[in-house]
């Protein structure tokens, strides 16, 4: 479903260029649970941004569901993000003035249209039926992250991308979030790529990819 071929990403750094990703080639199949690990500065986040169509590579090819997306304009990329990608951020990234329900519905406005029933279903799936009218600041970190997951589920995306999803959570809520994600994978066969430092998350994944200095150093199947 995802085919990265010879992806190079360079950023200008003053007069020089910094090469963050060096000829990455990676295939991810539908329904796979993949962890990307590596020290900071290894290019994990850049890789996630590319996978999430927030950015395009300097060179190389990125096929998402058979479609070449590495040369698309910003409008097309936004459409793909809206319909095919579900982001789960370390810092949740909910809009603080909107309720949980409104945050979920917001994602739908950019993905084809609001459907209150589906929004409620998604919130029920993450166990937040009782908290739909609360704003993010009235929710715990774990609850906020679950709203963020519901926000992704509701779009039924092709690809879930999680960036340190438990990085700001205590271990209790962290493991709740992980169990929601793994059960989504088990029940619906979602494709999930998760960037993490946390070995316990990685242990739930089928594949662990280790990045270092912009290159894949090892790939292990569990």
């Amino acid at each position: 479903m995802i085919k990265l071929e010879n992806i190079i990403k360079k950023y200008p750094m003053g007069k020089r260029e910094l090469t963050v990703l060096k000829e990455i080639t990676l295939h991810i199949k539908q329904g796979e649970l993949v962890a990307i690990m590596g020290p900071s500065g290894s290019g994990k986040t850049t890789m996630l941004n590319l996978l999430g169509c927030l950015d395009v590579p300097t060179s190389g090819s990125y096929l998402l569901e058979g479609r070449e997306v590495s040369r698309l304009g910003s409008g097309e990329l936004a459409r793909i993000r809206g319909q095919k990608i579900g982001f789960i951020f370390q810092t949740f990234n909910l809009l603080s003035r909107l309720t949980a329900l409104a945050n979920v519905e917001l994602a739908m406005t950019y993905a084809g249209g609001v459907d209150r029933k589906r929004a409620l279903e998604a919130l029920a799936k993450v166990g937040l039926s009782e908290r739909i009218h609360h704003r993010p600041l009235e929710l715990s970190g774990g609850e906020q992250q679950r709203v963020a997951i519901a926000r992704s589920i509701v779009k039924n995306p092709s690809l879930f991308l999680a960036d340190e999803p438990t990085g700001q959570l205590d271990s209790q809520s962290g493991s709740e979030v992980i169990s929601i994600l793994t059960s989504l994978h088990a029940e619906q066969g979602i494709t999930l790529v998760v960037v993490t430092h946390d070995a316990s998350i990685a242990s739930h994944c089928q594949r662990i990819i280790h990045l270092k200095d912009g290159e894949i150093v090892t790939e292990e199947n569990t």
Binding site: N49, A78, R79, R81, F87, N93, L94, R97, A102, Y110
Partner: protein
């Protein structure tokens, strides 16, 4: 449709969340729109009251004054070209005229007991009352007979009566004007209103024959008695132009003006005067509106300022929206709609305020004000337009933010 509803709802929530800031942002627009509405209503009100004043003088009236017409219908230096004989000739030769009166005005020292004022005294023929449609509150206007005898009687305007006699009954009192002493036989009904030019409220009318005893009325080279103006009424206001042309022919002939020579008199119908005043007050109204529009512009700059701040402040929100699939145009329209909605609400509040102030001014009797619907629609549209214009740049800035960097911002 649904999409628009969502967009409006999104924007509305944002504005309501920041009530105070939203209010301060639109304050400039509120003041701008309110002042446009108020000032334009004053202009319009002034115009309406001037027009109704002119119409109260009678729409069938034509005034002929001496001297060539210059720009704006203002008489050039007084010249002694119109005569009593001209008036008689017009009455005799031009059809469709119902009544003709001649006047001769002079500034005289007016004395009553200890009161002393310098006033314009007008000697008129008896027809004057009918032509000018003068209403008498007490006493009578002088008769044909009194005119012929040169009776020393005076009819005074309401303001003059108040100035000279206060609360005393003016009837039967004596007024000294220059060298003649006249008895007040009538007081005119107050015309009220600001009026313009000469108001009958400030006038003193005496028979023209009595005037001739007080001041020496000049004569032309032909020995005709000079008058200040000839006023007349016509049978039908539709005929104003025709009658004016006929009078012109008669007067040019009598004054022996060859082709190529300008008229030495000036004919103006009420209709014409109304048109002239309308164009003057319209200019005035526009000018007032333009001044007020400047404050609207300043309000617009305030909106832009706040929108720029708002974009900065919501960088992260923009990043989130973009990550969720918002296209540049979605972000752009969100901010543009926000600016337009802000100024629209400001415009509506401004209309309410402006209208209220206009009504207040009117009710307090300070000035006549008329709020026209066109001005309201225009002001609100301009307010929205200002929102779009000044919101454009901030919205464009917002839409061009890089989602990765926007997400990283605090």
């Amino acid at each position: 449709m649904k999409k628009w509803y969502n967009l409006l709802a999104t924007v509305w929530v944002g504005l309501v969340t920041h009530k105070l800031r939203s209010f301060l942002t639109i304050l400039g627009v509120v003041i701008g729109v309110a002042s446009v509405i108020t000032l334009m209503s004053i202009g319009q009100g002034t115009q309406d009251s001037i027009l109704s004043n002119i119409e109260s003088m009678g729409t069938k009236k034509i005034t002929i004054s001496a001297g060539a017409r210059t720009f704006g219908g203002v008489r050039s230096t007084a010249s002694n070209t119109l005569t009593m004989e001209d008036a008689e000739a017009i009455a005799g030769q031009v059809p469709d005229i119902t009544s003709v009166a001649s006047t001769y005005s002079s500034n005289l020292q007016v004395v009553v007991g200890g009161e002393n004022m310098n006033s314009s005294v007008t000697g008129v023929t008896p027809e004057y009352r009918e032509v000018e449609n003068l209403e008498i509150t007490s006493g009578t206007f002088f008769s044909e007979d009194e005119y012929k005898r040169g009776s020393k009687v005076a009819v005074i305007g309401s303001n003059v009566a108040e100035t000279l006699f206060g609360t005393d009954d003016p009837l039967g009192q004596r007024i000294r004007m220059g060298s003649i002493i006249a008895t007040v036989t009538g007081v005119l009904e107050s015309e009220g209103g600001g009026g313009f030019g000469m108001s009958a409220d400030d006038a003193i009318y005496i028979p023209l024959t009595a005037m001739q005893q007080a001041v020496s009325q000049p004569r032309t080279a032909q020995g005709e008695k000079v008058v200040s103006s000839i006023v007349l009424t016509i049978a039908d206001e539709e005929l104003a132009e025709q009658v004016s042309d006929d009078i012109t022919t008669v007067l040019r002939d009598r004054h022996r003006l060859g082709p190529g020579t300008d008229d030495d008199f000036n004919i103006m119908s009420t209709q014409e005067m109304a048109e002239m005043m309308t164009s003057t007050t319209e200019t005035l109204t526009l000018l007032l509106g333009a001044v007020a529009a400047i404050s609207l512009l300043v309000g617009g700059i305030g909106v832009m300022n706040i929108m720029l701040v708002s974009v900065l402040e919501r960088t992260r929100e923009i990043g989130i929206r973009k990550a969720l699939g918002a296209r540049d145009t979605d972000i752009w329209s969100q901010f543009l709609v926000e600016a337009a909605l802000l100024t629209f609400v400001g415009g509506i509040i401004g209309v309410i305020f402006g209208w209220g102030i206009a009504l207040l001014i009117d009710n307090l009797g300070l000035m006549t004000t008329v709020v026209s619907v066109n001005v309201v629609i225009l002001a609100v549209s301009v307010a929205i337009g200002i929102g779009i214009f000044f919101g454009f740049y901030p919205a464009w800035n917002a839409s061009r933010l890089n989602p990765i960097e926007a997400l990283r911002s605090e």
